[in-house]
Protein backbone atom coordinates (compact mmCIF):
# COMPACT_ATOMS: atom_id res chain seq x y z
CA UNK A 1 0.00 0.00 0.00
CA UNK A 2 1.40 3.39 -0.89
CA UNK A 3 2.20 5.89 1.85
CA UNK A 4 -0.41 8.34 0.65
CA UNK A 5 -3.22 5.81 0.64
CA UNK A 6 -2.22 4.51 4.08
CA UNK A 7 -2.18 8.03 5.50
CA UNK A 8 -5.60 8.74 4.01
CA UNK A 9 -7.00 5.55 5.55
CA UNK A 10 -5.52 6.36 8.96
CA UNK A 11 -6.97 9.88 8.77
CA UNK A 12 -10.40 8.51 7.83
CA UNK A 13 -10.28 5.97 10.65
CA UNK A 14 -9.41 8.68 13.18
CA UNK A 15 -12.23 10.84 11.82
CA UNK A 16 -14.71 7.96 12.11
CA UNK A 17 -13.66 7.26 15.71
CA UNK A 18 -13.95 10.94 16.65
CA UNK A 19 -17.34 11.22 14.94
CA UNK A 20 -18.61 8.28 17.02
CA UNK A 21 -17.33 9.74 20.30
CA UNK A 22 -20.54 11.55 21.37
CA UNK A 23 -22.25 8.14 21.43
CA UNK A 24 -19.47 6.36 23.28
CA UNK A 25 -18.53 9.02 25.84
CA UNK A 26 -20.82 10.70 28.29
CA UNK A 27 -21.89 14.32 28.19
CA UNK A 28 -18.97 15.59 30.22
CA UNK A 29 -16.24 13.85 28.26
CA UNK A 30 -17.73 14.93 24.95
CA UNK A 31 -17.78 18.57 26.02
CA UNK A 32 -14.19 18.06 27.10
CA UNK A 33 -13.32 17.19 23.50
CA UNK A 34 -14.78 20.45 22.13
CA UNK A 35 -11.79 22.67 23.00
CA UNK A 36 -9.56 20.03 21.41
CA UNK A 37 -10.93 20.92 17.97
CA UNK A 38 -10.51 24.65 18.50
CA UNK A 39 -6.99 24.20 19.79
CA UNK A 40 -6.13 21.69 17.06
CA UNK A 41 -7.01 24.22 14.36
CA UNK A 42 -5.10 27.03 16.06
CA UNK A 43 -2.09 24.74 16.56
CA UNK A 44 -2.08 23.71 12.90
CA UNK A 45 -1.60 27.41 12.14
CA UNK A 46 1.05 27.83 14.81
CA UNK A 47 2.94 24.83 13.58
CA UNK A 48 3.02 26.25 10.06
CA UNK A 49 5.11 29.02 11.58
CA UNK A 50 6.95 26.97 14.19
CA UNK A 51 7.52 23.48 12.78
CA UNK A 52 7.67 24.39 9.10
CA UNK A 53 8.81 28.00 9.26
CA UNK A 54 11.11 27.84 12.30
CA UNK A 55 9.46 30.88 13.91
CA UNK A 56 8.26 30.73 17.52
CA UNK A 57 5.46 33.17 18.19
CA UNK A 58 4.81 34.07 21.81
CA UNK A 59 1.88 36.28 20.88
CA UNK A 60 -0.34 33.98 18.92
CA UNK A 61 -3.00 33.82 21.59
CA UNK A 62 -3.93 37.26 20.31
CA UNK A 63 -5.49 35.72 17.22
CA UNK A 64 -7.48 33.24 19.27
CA UNK A 65 -8.80 36.18 21.25
CA UNK A 66 -9.67 38.00 18.03
CA UNK A 67 -11.67 34.99 16.87
CA UNK A 68 -13.45 34.72 20.22
CA UNK A 69 -14.29 38.43 20.38
CA UNK A 70 -15.46 38.32 16.75
CA UNK A 71 -17.84 35.53 17.70
CA UNK A 72 -19.11 37.66 20.59
CA UNK A 73 -19.46 40.84 18.56
CA UNK A 74 -21.16 39.21 15.58
CA UNK A 75 -23.75 37.63 17.86
CA UNK A 76 -24.48 40.46 20.29
CA UNK A 77 -23.65 43.69 18.46
CA UNK A 78 -24.15 42.90 14.80
CA UNK A 79 -27.03 40.49 15.51
CA UNK A 80 -25.67 37.93 13.08
CA UNK A 81 -26.65 34.56 14.50
CA UNK A 82 -24.80 32.53 11.90
CA UNK A 83 -21.55 30.91 13.08
CA UNK A 84 -20.16 31.18 9.55
CA UNK A 85 -20.53 34.97 9.78
CA UNK A 86 -18.66 34.90 13.10
CA UNK A 87 -15.85 32.83 11.57
CA UNK A 88 -15.66 35.14 8.57
CA UNK A 89 -15.58 38.22 10.76
CA UNK A 90 -12.91 36.62 12.94
CA UNK A 91 -10.70 35.77 9.99
CA UNK A 92 -11.06 39.25 8.51
CA UNK A 93 -10.27 40.90 11.84
CA UNK A 94 -7.30 38.58 12.37
CA UNK A 95 -5.95 39.43 8.92
CA UNK A 96 -6.47 43.15 9.54
CA UNK A 97 -4.26 42.84 12.64
CA UNK A 98 -1.85 40.31 11.17
CA UNK A 99 -0.99 42.37 8.11
CA UNK A 100 0.72 45.26 9.93
CA UNK A 101 2.05 43.04 12.74
CA UNK A 102 3.31 40.39 10.33
CA UNK A 103 4.91 42.98 8.04
CA UNK A 104 6.91 44.21 11.02
CA UNK A 105 7.72 40.81 12.54
CA UNK A 106 8.57 38.95 9.32
CA UNK A 107 11.85 40.86 9.19
CA UNK A 108 13.03 39.05 12.30
CA UNK A 109 13.64 35.47 13.28
CA UNK A 110 14.32 33.46 16.40
CA UNK A 111 14.37 35.29 19.70
CA UNK A 112 13.52 38.66 18.19
CA UNK A 113 10.48 37.24 16.48
CA UNK A 114 9.38 35.67 19.76
CA UNK A 115 9.82 38.89 21.71
CA UNK A 116 8.08 41.04 19.12
CA UNK A 117 5.08 38.78 18.83
CA UNK A 118 4.91 38.73 22.63
CA UNK A 119 4.94 42.52 22.68
CA UNK A 120 2.16 42.81 20.12
CA UNK A 121 0.11 40.13 21.85
CA UNK A 122 0.32 42.00 25.14
CA UNK A 123 -0.48 45.28 23.41
CA UNK A 124 -3.65 43.66 22.20
CA UNK A 125 -4.32 42.25 25.66
CA UNK A 126 -4.05 45.69 27.25
CA UNK A 127 -6.42 46.99 24.60
CA UNK A 128 -8.96 44.30 25.52
CA UNK A 129 -8.39 44.82 29.22
CA UNK A 130 -8.47 48.58 29.42
CA UNK A 131 -10.99 49.78 26.83
CA UNK A 132 -13.90 48.75 28.99
CA UNK A 133 -16.61 50.38 26.87
CA UNK A 134 -15.74 48.46 23.72
CA UNK A 135 -14.45 45.15 24.99
CA UNK A 136 -16.06 44.75 28.38
CA UNK A 137 -12.67 44.94 30.10
CA UNK A 138 -11.88 42.06 32.44
CA UNK A 139 -15.50 40.89 32.24
CA UNK A 140 -15.13 40.08 28.57
CA UNK A 141 -18.06 39.72 26.21
CA UNK A 142 -20.80 37.13 26.14
CA UNK A 143 -20.89 34.78 23.16
CA UNK A 144 -24.41 33.81 22.10
CA UNK A 145 -25.29 30.43 20.77
CA UNK A 146 -24.89 30.63 16.99
CA UNK A 147 -26.79 28.95 14.19
CA UNK A 148 -24.86 26.41 12.13
CA UNK A 149 -25.33 26.59 8.34
CA UNK A 150 -28.59 28.41 8.97
CA UNK A 151 -30.07 25.77 11.33
CA UNK A 152 -31.11 26.96 14.76
CA UNK A 153 -31.60 23.63 16.57
CA UNK A 154 -34.25 25.28 18.74
CA UNK A 155 -35.42 22.01 20.27
CA UNK A 156 -31.98 21.21 21.76
CA UNK A 157 -30.82 22.64 25.08
CA UNK A 158 -27.33 24.07 25.41
CA UNK A 159 -25.49 20.84 26.21
CA UNK A 160 -27.38 18.85 23.61
CA UNK A 161 -26.50 21.49 21.04
CA UNK A 162 -22.83 21.42 22.02
CA UNK A 163 -22.35 17.66 22.09
CA UNK A 164 -24.56 17.17 19.05
CA UNK A 165 -24.52 19.43 16.00
CA UNK A 166 -21.76 21.71 17.25
CA UNK A 167 -19.45 18.78 17.93
CA UNK A 168 -19.77 17.39 14.43
CA UNK A 169 -19.58 20.83 12.90
CA UNK A 170 -16.26 21.45 14.68
CA UNK A 171 -14.97 18.04 13.70
CA UNK A 172 -15.85 18.61 10.05
CA UNK A 173 -14.32 22.08 10.07
CA UNK A 174 -11.16 20.80 11.75
CA UNK A 175 -10.89 18.00 9.19
CA UNK A 176 -11.37 20.43 6.30
CA UNK A 177 -8.82 22.90 7.63
CA UNK A 178 -6.35 20.10 8.38
CA UNK A 179 -6.68 18.87 4.80
CA UNK A 180 -6.13 22.41 3.47
CA UNK A 181 -3.08 22.78 5.70
CA UNK A 182 -1.74 19.44 4.47
CA UNK A 183 -2.06 20.67 0.89
CA UNK A 184 -0.38 23.95 1.82
CA UNK A 185 2.68 22.43 3.51
CA UNK A 186 3.14 20.03 0.60
CA UNK A 187 2.85 22.76 -1.99
CA UNK A 188 5.77 24.74 -3.45
CA UNK A 189 4.96 27.35 -0.78
CA UNK A 190 5.53 24.77 1.95
CA UNK A 191 8.85 23.89 0.37
CA UNK A 192 9.89 27.56 0.30
CA UNK A 193 8.89 27.93 3.94
CA UNK A 194 11.04 24.95 4.95
CA UNK A 195 13.90 26.17 2.77
CA UNK A 196 13.99 29.57 4.49
CA UNK A 197 13.86 27.80 7.87
CA UNK A 198 16.86 25.60 7.12
CA UNK A 199 18.99 28.18 5.37
CA UNK A 200 17.50 31.61 4.70
CA UNK A 201 20.47 32.91 2.73
CA UNK A 202 20.61 29.94 0.41
CA UNK A 203 16.85 30.07 -0.03
CA UNK A 204 17.19 33.73 -1.00
CA UNK A 205 19.83 32.82 -3.61
CA UNK A 206 17.50 30.22 -5.05
CA UNK A 207 14.81 32.83 -5.57
CA UNK A 208 12.68 32.41 -2.43
CA UNK A 209 11.34 35.72 -1.20
CA UNK A 210 12.10 34.96 2.42
CA UNK A 211 10.31 37.83 4.15
CA UNK A 212 7.24 37.43 1.96
CA UNK A 213 7.10 33.70 2.60
CA UNK A 214 7.24 34.30 6.35
CA UNK A 215 4.62 37.03 6.04
CA UNK A 216 2.17 34.77 4.21
CA UNK A 217 2.72 31.96 6.71
CA UNK A 218 2.01 34.48 9.48
CA UNK A 219 -1.27 35.50 7.84
CA UNK A 220 -2.39 31.91 7.35
CA UNK A 221 -1.59 31.01 10.94
CA UNK A 222 -3.41 34.12 12.17
CA UNK A 223 -6.52 33.08 10.25
CA UNK A 224 -6.32 29.54 11.68
CA UNK A 225 -5.91 31.03 15.14
CA UNK A 226 -9.05 33.14 14.73
CA UNK A 227 -11.12 30.16 13.59
CA UNK A 228 -9.84 28.13 16.54
CA UNK A 229 -10.57 30.99 18.93
CA UNK A 230 -14.15 31.37 17.71
CA UNK A 231 -14.69 27.64 18.20
CA UNK A 232 -13.29 27.80 21.74
CA UNK A 233 -15.58 30.69 22.69
CA UNK A 234 -18.91 29.02 21.85
CA UNK A 235 -18.82 26.25 24.51
CA UNK A 236 -17.62 28.64 27.24
CA UNK A 237 -20.01 31.35 26.07
CA UNK A 238 -17.42 33.98 26.86
CA UNK A 239 -14.63 35.93 25.17
CA UNK A 240 -12.30 37.27 27.86
CA UNK A 241 -8.97 39.07 27.72
CA UNK A 242 -7.06 36.18 29.36
CA UNK A 243 -7.30 34.43 25.98
CA UNK A 244 -4.77 36.97 24.67
CA UNK A 245 -2.36 36.80 27.62
CA UNK A 246 1.19 35.80 26.73
CA UNK A 247 1.15 32.73 28.97
CA UNK A 248 -1.70 31.42 26.80
CA UNK A 249 0.59 31.79 23.79
CA UNK A 250 3.20 29.86 25.73
CA UNK A 251 0.64 27.16 26.41
CA UNK A 252 -0.10 26.93 22.68
CA UNK A 253 3.58 26.37 21.93
CA UNK A 254 3.69 23.88 24.80
CA UNK A 255 0.85 21.87 23.23
CA UNK A 256 2.61 21.89 19.87
CA UNK A 257 5.85 20.63 21.35
CA UNK A 258 3.99 18.08 23.47
CA UNK A 259 2.51 16.52 20.33
CA UNK A 260 5.64 17.03 18.26
CA UNK A 261 6.27 20.05 16.07
CA UNK A 262 8.19 18.05 13.49
CA UNK A 263 5.13 16.05 12.47
CA UNK A 264 2.05 17.24 10.67
CA UNK A 265 -0.24 15.44 13.13
CA UNK A 266 1.79 16.50 16.18
CA UNK A 267 -0.31 19.59 16.97
CA UNK A 268 -3.52 17.53 16.76
CA UNK A 269 -2.17 14.95 19.19
CA UNK A 270 -0.75 17.73 21.35
CA UNK A 271 -4.11 19.50 21.64
CA UNK A 272 -5.85 16.27 22.62
CA UNK A 273 -3.20 15.22 25.13
CA UNK A 274 -2.89 18.64 26.73
CA UNK A 275 -6.63 19.14 27.21
CA UNK A 276 -7.09 15.68 28.74
CA UNK A 277 -3.95 15.99 30.87
CA UNK A 278 -4.89 19.42 32.20
CA UNK A 279 -8.41 18.26 33.04
CA UNK A 280 -7.04 15.25 34.90
CA UNK A 281 -4.40 17.25 36.79
CA UNK A 282 -6.92 19.90 37.82
CA UNK A 283 -9.04 17.25 39.53
CA UNK A 284 -5.97 15.95 41.38
CA UNK A 285 -4.18 19.05 42.58
CA UNK A 286 -4.56 22.82 42.74
CA UNK A 287 -0.91 23.03 41.70
CA UNK A 288 -1.42 21.58 38.24
CA UNK A 289 0.77 24.24 36.62
CA UNK A 290 3.72 22.90 38.56
CA UNK A 291 3.15 19.42 37.14
CA UNK A 292 2.66 20.80 33.63
CA UNK A 293 5.90 22.74 33.98
CA UNK A 294 7.73 19.55 34.93
CA UNK A 295 6.16 17.74 31.97
CA UNK A 296 7.23 20.51 29.62
CA UNK A 297 10.78 20.52 30.99
CA UNK A 298 11.03 16.73 30.64
CA UNK A 299 9.81 16.89 27.04
CA UNK A 300 12.21 19.65 26.09
CA UNK A 301 15.12 17.83 27.75
CA UNK A 302 14.36 14.23 26.93
CA UNK A 303 12.03 14.06 23.98
CA UNK A 304 12.10 17.29 21.97
CA UNK A 305 10.28 15.54 19.13
CA UNK A 306 7.22 15.22 21.34
CA UNK A 307 4.86 12.29 21.59
CA UNK A 308 5.01 11.70 17.83
CA UNK A 309 8.77 11.27 18.12
CA UNK A 310 8.54 8.90 21.07
CA UNK A 311 8.43 5.65 19.00
CA UNK A 312 11.60 6.60 17.13
CA UNK A 313 13.27 7.53 20.40
CA UNK A 314 12.37 4.19 21.99
CA UNK A 315 13.46 2.27 18.90
CA UNK A 316 16.84 3.97 19.08
CA UNK A 317 17.12 3.19 22.78
CA UNK A 318 16.47 -0.54 22.35
CA UNK A 319 17.98 -1.09 18.91
CA UNK A 320 21.22 0.88 18.76
CA UNK A 321 21.44 0.39 14.97
CA UNK A 322 18.41 2.61 14.34
CA UNK A 323 19.17 6.28 14.81
CA UNK A 324 16.77 8.76 16.34
CA UNK A 325 18.22 11.74 14.57
CA UNK A 326 16.04 14.79 15.19
CA UNK A 327 14.23 15.35 11.93
CA UNK A 328 12.65 18.69 11.09
CA UNK A 329 9.13 18.72 9.72
CA UNK A 330 8.85 17.46 6.18
Amino acid sequence: MSGGLRRALVALAVLAVLAAMPFALGEYRTTLLLPVFGYAIALLGINLLFGYGGLVSFGHAMFLAIGAYAAAVSGTVLRLASFEAALGLGVLAALAVAIPVGALCARYTKIFFGMLTLAFGMLFHSFLFRLYDITGGDQGLRVRRPTLLGFEFEDLDKTEFLIGPFYWYCLALAALLAWLMWRLVHSPFGLMLRAQRDNPRKAEYLGVEVARTRFIAFLVSAAYGAVGGAMLAVPTGLADPELAYWTHSGTLIFMTVLGGFAHFAGPLLGALTYVLLQDQLMTWTPYWRLVLGVVLALIVLGCPQGLMGLPALLRARFRPSATARPVPAE
Binding site: F50, V56, F58, L104, R107, Y108, K110, I111, F112, G114, M115, L116, L118, A119, F120, M122, L123, S126, F127, R130, L131, Y245, W246, T247, G250, I253, F254, V257, P286, Y287, W288, R289, L290, L292, G293, V294, L296, A297, V300, L301, P304
Partner: protein
Protein backbone atom coordinates in the same frame (compact mmCIF):
# COMPACT_ATOMS: atom_id res chain seq x y z
CA UNK B 1 5.98 71.82 39.71
CA UNK B 2 5.15 69.68 42.74
CA UNK B 3 3.04 67.27 40.71
CA UNK B 4 5.76 67.09 38.08
CA UNK B 5 8.36 66.05 40.64
CA UNK B 6 6.02 63.51 42.22
CA UNK B 7 5.23 61.88 38.88
CA UNK B 8 8.89 61.85 37.86
CA UNK B 9 10.09 60.24 41.08
CA UNK B 10 7.30 57.66 40.94
CA UNK B 11 8.37 56.87 37.37
CA UNK B 12 12.02 56.67 38.32
CA UNK B 13 11.20 54.34 41.24
CA UNK B 14 9.50 51.99 38.81
CA UNK B 15 12.40 52.44 36.40
CA UNK B 16 14.90 51.47 39.12
CA UNK B 17 13.09 48.18 39.76
CA UNK B 18 12.70 47.52 36.04
CA UNK B 19 16.37 48.22 35.52
CA UNK B 20 17.41 45.61 38.08
CA UNK B 21 15.29 42.92 36.42
CA UNK B 22 16.22 43.97 32.88
CA UNK B 23 19.92 44.07 33.80
CA UNK B 24 19.65 40.45 34.91
CA UNK B 25 17.87 39.59 31.68
CA UNK B 26 20.51 41.38 29.59
CA UNK B 27 23.41 39.80 31.46
CA UNK B 28 22.09 36.28 30.93
CA UNK B 29 21.23 36.98 27.31
CA UNK B 30 24.53 38.68 26.61
CA UNK B 31 26.63 35.81 27.91
CA UNK B 32 24.50 32.70 27.53
CA UNK B 33 22.30 33.74 24.58
CA UNK B 34 19.25 32.57 26.53
CA UNK B 35 16.22 34.80 26.72
CA UNK B 36 15.01 34.09 30.21
CA UNK B 37 11.22 34.20 30.37
CA UNK B 38 11.56 33.28 34.04
CA UNK B 39 13.21 36.62 34.90
CA UNK B 40 9.84 37.77 36.18
CA UNK B 41 9.50 34.63 38.28
CA UNK B 42 12.75 35.38 40.08
CA UNK B 43 11.46 38.90 40.62
CA UNK B 44 8.30 37.46 42.22
CA UNK B 45 10.34 35.01 44.29
CA UNK B 46 12.50 37.87 45.52
CA UNK B 47 9.40 39.82 46.44
CA UNK B 48 8.00 36.95 48.51
CA UNK B 49 11.34 36.31 50.19
CA UNK B 50 11.38 40.03 50.95
CA UNK B 51 7.92 39.73 52.54
CA UNK B 52 9.04 36.89 54.77
CA UNK B 53 12.39 38.40 55.69
CA UNK B 54 10.92 41.87 56.18
CA UNK B 55 8.12 40.80 58.49
CA UNK B 56 10.40 38.42 60.40
CA UNK B 57 12.95 41.17 60.90
CA UNK B 58 10.30 43.62 62.09
CA UNK B 59 8.92 40.92 64.38
CA UNK B 60 12.36 40.40 65.94
CA UNK B 61 12.54 44.08 66.71
CA UNK B 62 14.91 45.16 63.97
CA UNK B 63 14.29 48.89 63.44
CA UNK B 64 12.33 49.53 60.22
CA UNK B 65 15.06 51.88 59.04
CA UNK B 66 17.34 48.87 58.54
CA UNK B 67 14.79 47.31 56.20
CA UNK B 68 16.62 48.27 53.03
CA UNK B 69 19.70 46.07 53.63
CA UNK B 70 17.49 43.25 54.97
CA UNK B 71 15.32 43.27 51.85
CA UNK B 72 18.30 43.53 49.51
CA UNK B 73 19.89 40.52 51.21
CA UNK B 74 16.65 38.54 51.10
CA UNK B 75 16.15 39.26 47.41
CA UNK B 76 19.77 38.54 46.60
CA UNK B 77 19.64 35.29 48.58
CA UNK B 78 17.57 33.57 45.90
CA UNK B 79 20.77 33.52 43.86
CA UNK B 80 21.24 30.06 45.43
CA UNK B 81 18.70 28.87 42.84
CA UNK B 82 20.98 30.11 40.08
CA UNK B 83 23.56 27.31 39.81
CA UNK B 84 21.10 24.35 39.78
CA UNK B 85 18.79 26.06 37.28
CA UNK B 86 21.73 27.02 35.11
CA UNK B 87 22.92 23.40 35.21
CA UNK B 88 19.60 22.31 33.70
CA UNK B 89 19.60 25.10 31.11
CA UNK B 90 23.08 24.05 30.08
CA UNK B 91 21.64 20.76 28.82
CA UNK B 92 19.99 22.65 25.95
CA UNK B 93 22.82 25.14 25.47
CA UNK B 94 23.64 24.04 21.94
CA UNK B 95 20.12 23.20 20.91
CA UNK B 96 17.53 25.28 19.14
CA UNK B 97 16.69 28.64 20.74
CA UNK B 98 13.01 27.79 20.79
CA UNK B 99 13.73 24.84 23.09
CA UNK B 100 15.69 27.09 25.45
CA UNK B 101 12.81 29.55 25.47
CA UNK B 102 10.37 26.75 26.24
CA UNK B 103 12.51 25.45 29.08
CA UNK B 104 12.42 28.88 30.71
CA UNK B 105 8.65 28.90 30.15
CA UNK B 106 8.49 25.59 32.01
CA UNK B 107 10.30 27.38 34.86
CA UNK B 108 7.67 30.13 34.79
CA UNK B 109 4.91 27.56 35.24
CA UNK B 110 6.74 25.71 38.01
CA UNK B 111 7.79 28.78 39.99
CA UNK B 112 4.33 30.33 39.77
CA UNK B 113 2.81 27.37 41.56
CA UNK B 114 5.78 26.94 43.87
CA UNK B 115 5.17 30.49 45.11
CA UNK B 116 1.48 29.67 45.58
CA UNK B 117 2.32 26.54 47.56
CA UNK B 118 4.62 28.36 49.97
CA UNK B 119 2.99 31.77 50.35
CA UNK B 120 -0.62 31.21 49.23
CA UNK B 121 -2.58 33.05 46.58
CA UNK B 122 -3.56 36.20 48.46
CA UNK B 123 -1.47 39.39 48.09
CA UNK B 124 1.25 39.83 50.72
CA UNK B 125 2.89 43.04 51.86
CA UNK B 126 5.23 44.26 54.61
CA UNK B 127 3.59 47.04 56.55
CA UNK B 128 5.43 49.60 58.58
CA UNK B 129 8.55 50.05 56.47
CA UNK B 130 7.27 52.48 53.90
CA UNK B 131 5.86 54.86 56.50
CA UNK B 132 8.85 54.57 58.81
CA UNK B 133 11.02 56.16 56.18
CA UNK B 134 8.67 59.10 55.87
CA UNK B 135 8.57 61.71 53.14
CA UNK B 136 10.62 64.69 52.10
CA UNK B 137 8.96 67.88 51.03
CA UNK B 138 10.54 70.15 48.46
CA UNK B 139 9.15 72.57 45.91
CA UNK B 140 5.63 71.66 46.85
CA UNK B 141 6.15 67.94 46.26
CA UNK B 142 5.98 65.09 48.78
CA UNK B 143 8.30 62.28 47.84
CA UNK B 144 8.57 59.07 49.90
CA UNK B 145 12.11 58.58 51.16
CA UNK B 146 11.85 54.86 50.43
CA UNK B 147 11.49 55.60 46.70
CA UNK B 148 14.61 57.75 46.76
CA UNK B 149 16.57 55.05 48.59
CA UNK B 150 15.54 52.41 46.08
CA UNK B 151 16.63 54.73 43.31
CA UNK B 152 19.97 55.16 45.05
CA UNK B 153 20.32 51.39 45.60
CA UNK B 154 19.65 50.69 41.92
CA UNK B 155 22.19 53.32 40.94
CA UNK B 156 24.80 51.74 43.22
CA UNK B 157 24.04 48.32 41.77
CA UNK B 158 24.34 49.70 38.23
CA UNK B 159 27.70 51.30 38.96
CA UNK B 160 28.92 48.21 40.83
CA UNK B 161 27.88 45.97 37.96
CA UNK B 162 29.63 48.24 35.47
CA UNK B 163 32.82 48.21 37.53
CA UNK B 164 32.58 44.44 37.95
CA UNK B 165 32.24 43.88 34.20
CA UNK B 166 34.83 46.44 33.10
CA UNK B 167 37.48 46.45 35.83
CA UNK B 168 37.72 43.05 37.47
CA UNK B 169 39.50 40.04 36.10
CA UNK B 170 36.37 37.91 36.30
CA UNK B 171 34.52 40.62 34.38
CA UNK B 172 37.06 40.29 31.60
CA UNK B 173 36.66 36.52 31.51
CA UNK B 174 32.91 37.03 31.44
CA UNK B 175 33.06 39.42 28.51
CA UNK B 176 35.44 37.12 26.67
CA UNK B 177 33.00 34.25 27.14
CA UNK B 178 30.16 36.42 25.88
CA UNK B 179 32.20 37.34 22.82
CA UNK B 180 33.22 33.80 21.90
CA UNK B 181 32.57 30.88 24.20
CA UNK B 182 34.69 28.31 22.34
CA UNK B 183 37.65 30.62 22.02
CA UNK B 184 37.46 31.56 25.68
CA UNK B 185 37.21 27.92 26.67
CA UNK B 186 40.21 26.96 24.57
CA UNK B 187 42.20 29.73 26.26
CA UNK B 188 41.48 28.10 29.59
CA UNK B 189 38.44 30.01 30.84
CA UNK B 190 36.17 27.82 32.93
CA UNK B 191 33.07 28.79 30.95
CA UNK B 192 30.85 26.53 33.04
CA UNK B 193 31.74 28.55 36.12
CA UNK B 194 31.25 31.81 34.23
CA UNK B 195 27.77 30.67 33.19
CA UNK B 196 26.86 29.63 36.71
CA UNK B 197 28.01 32.99 38.11
CA UNK B 198 26.27 34.98 35.38
CA UNK B 199 22.99 33.20 35.78
CA UNK B 200 23.10 33.47 39.58
CA UNK B 201 23.85 37.17 39.24
CA UNK B 202 20.87 37.53 36.92
CA UNK B 203 18.68 35.73 39.44
CA UNK B 204 19.98 37.92 42.28
CA UNK B 205 19.31 41.13 40.34
CA UNK B 206 15.74 40.06 39.62
CA UNK B 207 15.24 39.00 43.24
CA UNK B 208 16.52 42.30 44.60
CA UNK B 209 14.21 44.18 42.25
CA UNK B 210 11.29 42.18 43.62
CA UNK B 211 12.27 42.58 47.27
CA UNK B 212 12.45 46.37 46.94
CA UNK B 213 8.82 46.77 45.89
CA UNK B 214 7.13 44.92 48.79
CA UNK B 215 7.14 47.84 51.25
CA UNK B 216 5.06 49.91 48.82
CA UNK B 217 3.03 47.37 46.87
CA UNK B 218 1.83 43.84 47.55
CA UNK B 219 3.43 40.68 46.19
CA UNK B 220 1.03 38.56 44.14
CA UNK B 221 1.52 35.30 42.23
CA UNK B 222 0.68 37.17 39.01
CA UNK B 223 3.46 39.72 39.37
CA UNK B 224 5.88 37.33 37.65
CA UNK B 225 4.14 37.11 34.31
CA UNK B 226 3.16 40.78 34.42
CA UNK B 227 6.69 42.05 34.85
CA UNK B 228 8.16 39.93 32.05
CA UNK B 229 6.20 41.96 29.55
CA UNK B 230 7.62 45.24 30.78
CA UNK B 231 11.12 43.85 31.06
CA UNK B 232 10.88 42.77 27.42
CA UNK B 233 9.73 46.23 26.42
CA UNK B 234 12.77 47.63 28.24
CA UNK B 235 15.26 45.41 26.46
CA UNK B 236 13.65 45.88 23.05
CA UNK B 237 13.77 49.65 23.45
CA UNK B 238 17.29 49.65 24.85
CA UNK B 239 18.70 46.93 22.63
CA UNK B 240 19.10 43.24 23.46
CA UNK B 241 22.23 42.43 25.45
CA UNK B 242 23.26 45.99 26.27
CA UNK B 243 23.56 47.26 29.86
CA UNK B 244 23.31 50.91 28.85
CA UNK B 245 20.24 49.92 26.89
CA UNK B 246 18.68 48.36 29.97
CA UNK B 247 19.21 51.59 31.87
CA UNK B 248 17.85 53.84 29.11
CA UNK B 249 14.95 51.50 28.36
CA UNK B 250 14.02 51.24 32.05
CA UNK B 251 13.99 55.03 32.45
CA UNK B 252 11.87 55.47 29.32
CA UNK B 253 9.36 52.78 30.26
CA UNK B 254 9.20 53.86 33.92
CA UNK B 255 8.61 57.53 33.14
CA UNK B 256 6.20 56.77 30.34
CA UNK B 257 4.04 54.63 32.58
CA UNK B 258 4.04 57.20 35.35
CA UNK B 259 3.03 59.97 32.96
CA UNK B 260 0.41 57.87 31.18
CA UNK B 261 -1.05 56.90 34.55
CA UNK B 262 -1.75 60.57 35.24
CA UNK B 263 -2.71 61.71 31.77
CA UNK B 264 -4.63 58.78 30.36
CA UNK B 265 -4.65 55.64 32.56
CA UNK B 266 -6.35 53.45 29.96
CA UNK B 267 -3.35 53.82 27.71
CA UNK B 268 -0.70 53.03 30.34
CA UNK B 269 0.73 49.89 28.73
CA UNK B 270 -0.24 50.89 25.23
CA UNK B 271 1.95 53.98 25.48
CA UNK B 272 4.89 51.71 26.33
CA UNK B 273 4.22 49.55 23.31
CA UNK B 274 3.78 52.51 21.02
CA UNK B 275 7.37 53.40 21.89
CA UNK B 276 8.46 49.79 21.38
CA UNK B 277 6.97 49.79 17.89
CA UNK B 278 8.41 53.20 17.08
CA UNK B 279 11.89 52.10 18.16
CA UNK B 280 11.59 48.96 16.06
CA UNK B 281 10.61 50.92 12.99
CA UNK B 282 13.33 53.54 13.35
CA UNK B 283 16.12 51.60 15.05
CA UNK B 284 15.39 47.87 14.82
CA UNK B 285 18.35 46.91 17.01
CA UNK B 286 17.20 49.16 19.84
CA UNK B 287 18.72 52.41 21.05
CA UNK B 288 21.97 50.87 22.25
CA UNK B 289 21.98 47.52 20.45
CA UNK B 290 24.30 46.35 17.75
CA UNK B 291 22.45 45.65 14.49
CA UNK B 292 21.40 42.02 14.43
CA UNK B 293 23.48 39.83 12.13
Amino acid sequence: MGAFIEVTTAGLFHAAVLFLVAAGLQLVFGVQRILNLACGSFYALGAYCGVTAGSTALGLGVPPLLALPVLLLAGGAIAVLGPPVERVLRLVQDRDESLQLLLTFALVLMLQDAVRMVWGSSPRQVDGIYLAYGQVQALGARVPVWNLLVLLAALVVALGLGAFLKRTNFGRLLRATAENRRMAASLGVDTGRVYAVVFSLGVALGGMGGALVVPSSAATPEMAVELVVEAFAVVVIGGLGSMGGALAGAVIVGLLRAVALVVWPELELMAVYAVVVAVLLLRPAGLFGKPAA
